[in-house]
Assembly symmetry: D2
Homo-oligomer: 333 residues x 4
Amino acid sequence: MSDWNTIRFCQFGAGRIGHIHAETVFRHPEAELAGIVDVVPDAAEALALRFGTRALRAEDVLEDPSIDAVIIASATHTHADLTERAARAGKAVFCEKPIDLDMARVDACLTVVAEQGATLFVGFNRRFDPSFAALKERVANGDIGRVEIVSITSRDPGLPPVQYLETSGGLFRDMMIHDLDMARWLLGEEPVEVFAFAQALVDPVVDQAGDVDTAAAVLKTASGRLAQINNSRRAAYGYDQRVEVFGSLGSARAENRTATSVEISTEQATRRDNPLPFFLERYQDTYRLELDRFIDVLRGRSSTYPNGQDGRMALRLADALLESHQTGAPVVV
Amino acid sequence: MSDWNTIRFCQFGAGRIGHIHAETVFRHPEAELAGIVDVVPDAAEALALRFGTRALRAEDVLEDPSIDAVIIASATHTHADLTERAARAGKAVFCEKPIDLDMARVDACLTVVAEQGATLFVGFNRRFDPSFAALKERVANGDIGRVEIVSITSRDPGLPPVQYLETSGGLFRDMMIHDLDMARWLLGEEPVEVFAFAQALVDPVVDQAGDVDTAAAVLKTASGRLAQINNSRRAAYGYDQRVEVFGSLGSARAENRTATSVEISTEQATRRDNPLPFFLERYQDTYRLELDRFIDVLRGRSSTYPNGQDGRMALRLADALLESHQTGAPVVV
Amino acid sequence: MSDWNTIRFCQFGAGRIGHIHAETVFRHPEAELAGIVDVVPDAAEALALRFGTRALRAEDVLEDPSIDAVIIASATHTHADLTERAARAGKAVFCEKPIDLDMARVDACLTVVAEQGATLFVGFNRRFDPSFAALKERVANGDIGRVEIVSITSRDPGLPPVQYLETSGGLFRDMMIHDLDMARWLLGEEPVEVFAFAQALVDPVVDQAGDVDTAAAVLKTASGRLAQINNSRRAAYGYDQRVEVFGSLGSARAENRTATSVEISTEQATRRDNPLPFFLERYQDTYRLELDRFIDVLRGRSSTYPNGQDGRMALRLADALLESHQTGAPVVV
Amino acid sequence: MSDWNTIRFCQFGAGRIGHIHAETVFRHPEAELAGIVDVVPDAAEALALRFGTRALRAEDVLEDPSIDAVIIASATHTHADLTERAARAGKAVFCEKPIDLDMARVDACLTVVAEQGATLFVGFNRRFDPSFAALKERVANGDIGRVEIVSITSRDPGLPPVQYLETSGGLFRDMMIHDLDMARWLLGEEPVEVFAFAQALVDPVVDQAGDVDTAAAVLKTASGRLAQINNSRRAAYGYDQRVEVFGSLGSARAENRTATSVEISTEQATRRDNPLPFFLERYQDTYRLELDRFIDVLRGRSSTYPNGQDGRMALRLADALLESHQTGAPVVV
């Protein structure tokens, strides 16, 4: 890919996250949005129109040698297939997490990616949150010494629709997977054993859907570093996204972010803002920052990014925790 | 102005603040950037090129009936003249503060604006800072009862170049004018008497330039409400921009904003981020939000905005404080 | 016990925690310190002298009908025996935790206490920390709805001497037992299953002593409420003692306390105080407040206090977590 | 005064602040409370009884060579007279502020104190607040470079009874005097010119009593350092006591203190504690810490303390600000 040309992107998927990625590519000075593909042609048309590009068919994109990279933001069950096809067509791939909900399918996909020598960037956008990224940098810098415990609080503001839950893969693979990626990234070592307690406490409908909505997980690495994660599908006060790392020389924490810094003190109490409401607000900057990184990788300016192995390992941990929940025993990874 | 058409803007000025406004107009879905004017034709060309528009001469803009509105972001001494010409040409005017450094000139300009029935929006962008705007809304809502004291801390990160100081109009008219607008806006009443102590403490060069770099001002309204402002041209830890309002039922404060929420605790101390470094970072969102408001005003969707009288009164207070500093006595406004 | 008389206390134990209790009793307006017993007569003498009382032998205390209550602050292995003897002698008992490190011994002791109808107050002083007590009150009040997750961070500033570790009963029974009491108290339900990962990460000497210094535990109640606890014997930045409770309507957290509210902002960062250094500073008020409660219980003004069953259950959970750590499996309580 | 003996104190005044000082002396290991004097003999008796001492007449105290020091906590108009008599009797004097409300009377008193070579410690207890003391230490240490601006927010929770106002000397001499001492102490230079705006905004009854309840003052030192103080007799949210110092290398602030560290987040907002309610809670530790210092001074272990000149200068500034308020002009000190 030449250094002086704009990188030409096409995107699969014109849903909510697709809108975000399309706009991000559209606004990026080094990127060009060359087309949108969606199983619903009208959705592709509408999104293409909005950002001055065209609706295309998948084969048009894959056969067009002028397309450098694809963004896969379509339904989860299409990710692995599109990733393989794009890799075979010589495109660089940005794939929304998860690669697939089935580990065997992920492995097969990563084999193709490896055979093709393709770049596969997995959309673990939280790594690009400015607070988490700064925390990681300080930890990597040794500011808190050797890492001993990683603690993650991650709570969604409210229960998604039941239909969503039914195809989501469940709390561990749909929601905690983000936290598992964060835990791996911050531990600096692979977890080798995991355990979880989980329950449907928010709404019985979750239990009926065969899922849980509340969980507490613990992870252990080979050298004995520990991580703990607590998840809930509901936080009445907003999107609760916090990380702490404890090390031999200190600790680092990233608190929630708020829309304003206003505090009101009256006779009753001093009140301040709740956390930002949900991921679109809290992680707004990450979509741009992860695209910057993807482009840096394509330009050879960086080689650090959440790749296929990261996607695979987060799913592996999610599967292990689900198994732990189902069997009631710790699971060796 | 029709509701269904894009509003066509031209802009005077292609400097630093001009770049921000041009990009903001360029990105706004209801606005079109139709041309850039600058005394340095190359600067106008470069900025026009960047945002897909043309460099124009002032007369082209003013004589073109398809131009709905102008943004005046040129040198201060051109503001009043351009405002008058644009008003006479039937354009709506967004003028960067100050309208002029000379009160008589401001008055003459406002007379023309009034005669023409023109919309004049003055760029007191801090009113659109999300934290300050939320604070104002709570205060206006009565959450803290009757306002009694407004307290403003406003400190720049470092001394500007001496050349800047020499044409700036001095600390009161260049820097404190923002805080004076905030004070008026939050007091909900006009100050009628003011007093200031001021000094060059940061650098003797400031004194040689006939200016001060450190000031503490007090203001009083007719009913006895008070305001206090402290200013410095230097804050080693970043751009310090805080507001507090004390009322009969409580208080409201807006603290500084930081880039991240990270805290690091080691044996020595717990450290967190300093405030954002300067106005481009702290007030980044305000340029978009004030343009939104200007467009809302042009569309008839809002009638609340910093107008010519606001620009005039802030300058009036700045002049009075400068006089107080020079004479050593309080000044009745 | 008559309402108008001072309550007469004797105390067993003249060590560090003994000094605190003796002074607290000495200063309490409704209490009288009538004597000190210690296996080292000089220690008893010195402490008695300091607070204007006498050194006594255990039998003197237990046979003296004018003594209303005893404080047991002697070595752990003497607690159960002294509790039984005091209960049989008709004294009310305040016993430092744990009652004993052996569950069978605890059970035997509690049987004697029950047969005698004695009051047994166990020194879980953290329940009396003003922040934790206020948090509990809000939670009990329903401010955050139904409790779903309790999360406790509890880290000592540094490793105790190895000799201490060797007789301490180990991290779970010596350190986490406090957090287990907090978890039970805040969950509002008994944990029925527990799991822990633990390791010696701070110092290999801990491993050599057959103990761990770092742990992450998860607990589950019958209805599926969850708790997570992380412990470390070292926090370079001070004594880290925090509690969070997540409920259906919100969350409640109690942060660390600091010696001062000072923040210093310089070019590098904004720095504030670390947490108070250790339990004597952080929990300073709790010794007085728990004595107040003990006296309220003896006066019939309160019936809520950490009792023998609380002491027993915290040990039961600590034993279960130790077993989980040793077997690598979850343990049903 | 011998190093090995207890220092024998007598106290004048058995009112509210008298209770605090008497208890503090009673509990101090190096002090003995040898007697209480009050114009109301029953009040002296009651307080003496409570702390195991005797009610005495003033002459008994002054003529008793075994008395080393006196605490003057009686009505303000008696301070100067008792200070002089105690100084002449060779006693060290701890005098509650103010020495007197009349400057000439203060000067006469200080002349006597100087002639006698007596130690006169004035009870500016805020200097001993752990947060303010730590802030002062950091500033004195050079952590924030050269001091440029001191900013003090000082608000009482509510209006005192009108009778109190009438004999208080008014807001400047009764309330702001504490802040003026803080300003002098933190500026590190004497203010040479001052100005104030003030008003009765809280209650018209204050105006009828010839006083104000709301004020904003500015001070300037010879080298141009500035201070600003805002006062109100009412803060619905508690006792608001904050200090900030801005220097060439940074800033230092001391925030309010709260009873607990609890935060509750619900759908509406995140709420935390208000500041501690009033001076007895906020400045609880200062009475012990200032007595420690007084005793250190008497023992020759320290020579730094708020002395007669400090008492005089704070009153001088209060008088000047009252004059500024009354004349509407700045006042040179």
